[in-house]
């Protein structure tokens, strides 16, 4: 037993380490080939990341990414590919902002209301794909992609001034109106220069904890993982696959609904035309990198947020900021490859061990049988 654990510890480190080394080497190569000084770039990135205001940006962004990635990961654990996180969080943020702007309850209640509306809307939007899959067999991939487009159009329509939107005098932007101050989630100030960490970032972190607990410590989580590992085996074990698909889609959507909350509650306090987009898609990358593991996802979210934010001023130093996108791509590739390599190596090793045990055990029983 001990021996195994040590092996696994080493293997656990080997995956990420190998990935980072490979990604670093590839990035350096790409930069050298394109005639740019890689080390100057790395220096710039880390210099950026050493500034406290950039750090705050990274952490806030990572919190948002984390929620989106958790939403994707819930689906992944079930073998469901929820590409629709993007549409779900945008629609959820928009509806939550609308509700938040139209009522004025005392502090915590107001926030709770907004968050609950966001989760319900996200769950509802993902649930459509879930219902389509369970009743009509429509692939959730197709359905959620379509629902993304529909969400975009729906938001664009709802936010028109003639419907629920609000256009401030002199502004070319459309908003949902401002949420009263009782609905602002207090942040953690890191000083005047650095800005504040959204309070919701901590909620995001605790969501990771809940995610881990539900998956690994509850009956429901076991059923979910079993279904993801083998739908047929889970069905034989008594899991109602259809119900499971629908439930996990609803949960995935509800978590996706939270992804817009750090920004909405901590910063903009309204949903406008320039509300951040594309977080759902980044979430897919992050969930993949983090292998659906809450800590892995957290680290990947930080990594991607770091590349995003630290690369933002690169163009002021003569580098194209697209370099960061290339690096993200390279990291994804190296992580996928190195994890697979390490996994195969681990499986082989384990089989070998079992084989040894079997061989040893075999002669033993043969003697026993012979004695019979």
């Amino acid at each position: 037993m001990r021996k195994f654990d040590k092996d696994r510890l080493i293997l656990g480190f080997a995956g990420p380490a190998l990935a980072l080394v490979v990604a670093f080497a590839l990035s350096t190569l790409v930069l050298l080939v394109s005639n740019r000084d890689p080390f100057e770039l790395y220096r710039l990135l880390f210099e950026q990341a050493s500034y406290s205001d950039v750090q705050v940006l990274i952490i806030n962004q990572a919190g948002t990414y984390y929620l989106a990635a958790l939403a994707v990961a819930v689906g992944f654990r079930m073998n469901l590919f929820n590409i629709g996180v993007d549409g779900q969080y945008r629609l959820a943020a928009m509806m939550a902002a609308l509700v938040g702007a139209s009522v004025d309850l005392p502090g915590p209640l107001q926030i709770a209301l907004i968050v609950i509306v966001a989760m319900l809307v996200g769950a509802f939007w993902a649930g459509i794909a879930g219902v389509l899959k369970t009743t009509r067999g429509v692939s959730e991939v197709v359905a959620t992609i379509m629902l993304n487009s529909i969400a975009t159009s729906l938001i664009a329509w709802l936010i028109l001034p003639k419907n629920f939107g609000d256009q401030a005098a002199g502004s070319n932007n459309l908003t949902t109106g401002e949420i009263p101050e009782s609905g602002w989630f207090p942040g953690l100030s890191m000083g005047a220069d650095a800005g504040e960490i959204y309070g919701f970032t901590f909620v995001a972190a605790s969501c990771g904890l809940v995610y881990w607990f539900v998956l690994n410590r509850t009956r429901f989580g076991f059923d979910l993982r079993a279904t993801g590992a083998s739908e047929s085996a889970a069905q034989a074990s008594g899991v109602d696959a259809k119900k499971m698909i629908l439930t996990s889609m609803l949960i995935s959507g509800a978590v996706a609904g939270l992804a817009g909350m750090p920004t909405l509650l901590g910063d903009t306090h309204t949903y406008s035309l320039d509300f951040p987009v594309g977080i759902g898609f980044t979430g897919i990358t992050i969930a993949l990198l983090g292998r659906n593991h809450p800590v892995g996802i957290a680290l990947s979210a930080l990594l991607i947020a770091f590349l995003d934010k630290a690369s933002s001023p690169l163009d002021q130093f003569g580098f194209e900021k697209e370099i960061a996108t290339i690096m993200q791509g390279l990291i994804v590739i190296s992580v996928v490859i190195s994890y697979e390599l390490v996994r195969r190596y681990g499986t082989r090793r384990q089989q070998q061990k079992v084989g040894e045990e079997l061989a040893a055990g075999h002669s033993l029983t043969t003697e026993k049988e012979a004695a019979l």
Partner: protein
């Protein structure tokens, strides 16, 4: 080039290594055991000679010091129980796996294969148990696929196919679509495919498993044709009756090693079976009945239809009635695909029946979901353990939870109890002799037999009222087999009702208190396991008999 014939080719060398549980059964004059010499009159080198083949790897029973000599122009049967190592051996001969030790000689020449291509080049062809044909291609296209260089893909290929088909009486039509062909025809296409590639030595892996008796006869006629043309056939099977009728020579494999050869002309199935399983026949002679008159499971009028992808509605279960009492093992015999799988699915709740009632104890569970049925005391040893029994990538202790997540010790309320589950897994590993270095390894890294032991241990740990056991010892080594039977028998004494489905007729007859025969979704006949023979049962499985099998054969509907 030809090698000189050496005497030892035809002579089995005494091997000191294979002295393990040598059968204490009285030496049969007809059987040549180890160390005996069978001298053949044949003057050419043997088609295949395997010597000292040893293969160790996890997941499958290892081959250990195997020696086989296959003469040219014969049908050589390789018999042994499921999991005895036959398939592994053939994979080695076909180049799919490399032996750790030992030599292979083809036509007297020592060879070493690294892939099936090498084996094909040497004239060895293999017909797999599961056909490898593209349904939407014609026979011609399937045959030339991957062998385009041999005779092209046009008229030359067609001529060649025609020629082979006529030469061996295969009766293959080159332009028929494979999807329109029956199983037997597909098998002939597979054989033709192998011959087309120039094979002189054919390996057939369990070719009769999918065939009905008439088709089996036709296949054997084909094999005799091949033999007459000087080809060599290696025939893998565990159906002893068939083996005796077609083989010229038989090699028996047990627990990964050759235990003897037999001459079919002078051997009975019983003798062969004894050689196959060792000292004791599996037939459990514990005939004290534990059957009570308390019904545990009653099924009445169960019917199920399925709709094909083409929209055709088929009856897979028609009006099935059965009752299993406490302490009773009800065995269901039948050729695979006659509704057994669907019956299990309906009982466990994975398919909901169109009509009929299922009563467990005195509770109607016809509309109850699977989980509730399992909580209510249905244990389930699935037919396909990889699909339904285990999570291959999950550790053993999680597999111990599978199917019983709502029950103690796996959970408390809505929360899992990993500590208790781990602890109990260790107990199962101990008590059921699951060979594993620990409970954190994945189920997938265990051998099939050990996975099965874990499943049996898991299901038995929840004191089921009814155990649905589908092929409980399939692919399990002999030691584990006996152990699993013992577990079932012990639980039966405690009042467990068992529904047993098995392709192994000896197991079925040996373990059951009552026998029913299933044919095309109906229970067509019943039999008393104390008096019936596997042959009688086997013929009933083909739909040739109905009613109570001891009674005089009644009029047949079909």
């Amino acid at each position: 080039m030809r090698l000189t014939i050496r005497q030892r080719y035809a002579c089995r060398q005494p091997s000191g290594a294979i002295t393990s549980p040598s059968p204490p059964a009285p030496p049969l004059p007809l059987l040549s055991g180890q160390g005996e010499c069978v001298i053949n009159a044949s003057s050419s080198p043997p088609a295949v000679e395997l010597h000292g083949i040893t293969k160790r790897f996890p997941g499958v029973v290892a081959n250990h010091d195997i020696g086989i000599t296959v003469r040219k122009g014969t049908v050589h049967a390789l018999v042994g129980e499921n999991g005895a190592g036959k398939s592994t051996l053939m994979k080695i001969l076909y180049g799919m796996q490399k032996p750790d030790e030992g030599t292979i000689a083809v036509d007297g020449e020592q060879v070493s294969f690294t892939n099936p291509g090498d084996a094909i080049a040497r004239g060895i062809g293999m017909v797999h148990q599961h056909f490898m044909l593209a349904d939407n291609f014609t026979v011609l296209e399937n045959v030339v696929l991957g062998g385009e260089k041999l005779h092209g893909i046009g008229s030359a290929a067609r001529r060649k196919i025609k020629q082979i088909s006529d030469a061996y009486g295969l009766g293959v039509r080159p332009d028929a679509l494979v999807e329109d062909l029956g199983v037997a025809d597909r098998q002939r296409v597979e054989i033709l495919k192998v011959l087309y590639r120039g094979a002189r030595i054919l390996i057939l892996d369990e070719p009769t498993a999918v065939l009905v008796p008439q088709e089996v006869d036709a296949l054997f006629a084909n094999l005799r044709e091949l033999k007459a043309e000087g080809l060599t056939v290696i025939f893998i099977s565990h159906k002893l009756g068939e083996v005796l009728s077609v083989a010229d020579e038989i090699t028996v494999i047990r627990r990964g090693t050759t235990v003897g050869t037999a001459d079919p002309a002078h051997t009975t199935t019983k003798q062969l079976a004894e050689l196959m399983v060792g000292s004791e026949l599996p037939s459990p002679e514990t005939r004290e009945s534990t059957v009570t008159d308390v019904p545990m499971l009653r099924v009445e009028g169960l019917s199920l239809t399925v709709t094909d992808p083409d929209g055709v509605v088929r009856d897979v279960l028609t009006d099935v009635d059965l009752t299993i009492h406490k302490g009773e093992v009800l065995g269901i015999a039948g050729v695979e695909g006659n509704g057994q799988t669907e019956l299990i699915d309906a009982l466990i709740g994975m398919k909901s029946a169109d009509s009929g009632v299922i009563i467990l104890g005195d509770e109607d569970i016809s509309r109850v979901p699977t989980r509730k049925r399992r909580e209510d005391g249905i244990g389930y040893i699935p037919e396909d353990r990889h699909r339904h029994g285990v999570l291959l990538d999950a550790p053993l202790w999680e597999n111990r939870i599978l199917g019983h997540v709502t029950e103690k010790p796996n959970s408390k309320g809505f929360l899992l109890d990993p500590k208790a589950a781990r602890h109990d897994t260790e107990r199962i590993v101990r008590e059921y002799d699951v060979r594993t270095p620990g409970i954190e390894v994945t189920a997938g890294s265990l051998s099939g037999g050990n996975q099965q032991k874990l499943i049996v241990g898991r299901e038995m740990s929840h004191n089921p009222k009814l155990l649905i056991a589908a092929h409980p010892t399939r692919g399990v080594d002999v030691g584990a087999q006996a152990q699993i039977w013992d577990q079932i028998r012990a639980a039966r004494r405690e009042g467990l009702a068992v529904l047993l489905i098995s392709a192994d007729l000896d197991e079925l007859i040996g373990l059951s208190d009552t026998l029913r025969v299933m044919y095309r979704g109906q229970l067509v006949a019943d039999a008393d396991p104390a008096t019936i023979t596997p042959e009688e049962l086997g013929s009933a499985m083909t739909g040739a008999a109905a009613g109570h099998l001891e009674a005089a054969p009644e009029d047949e509907a079909r």
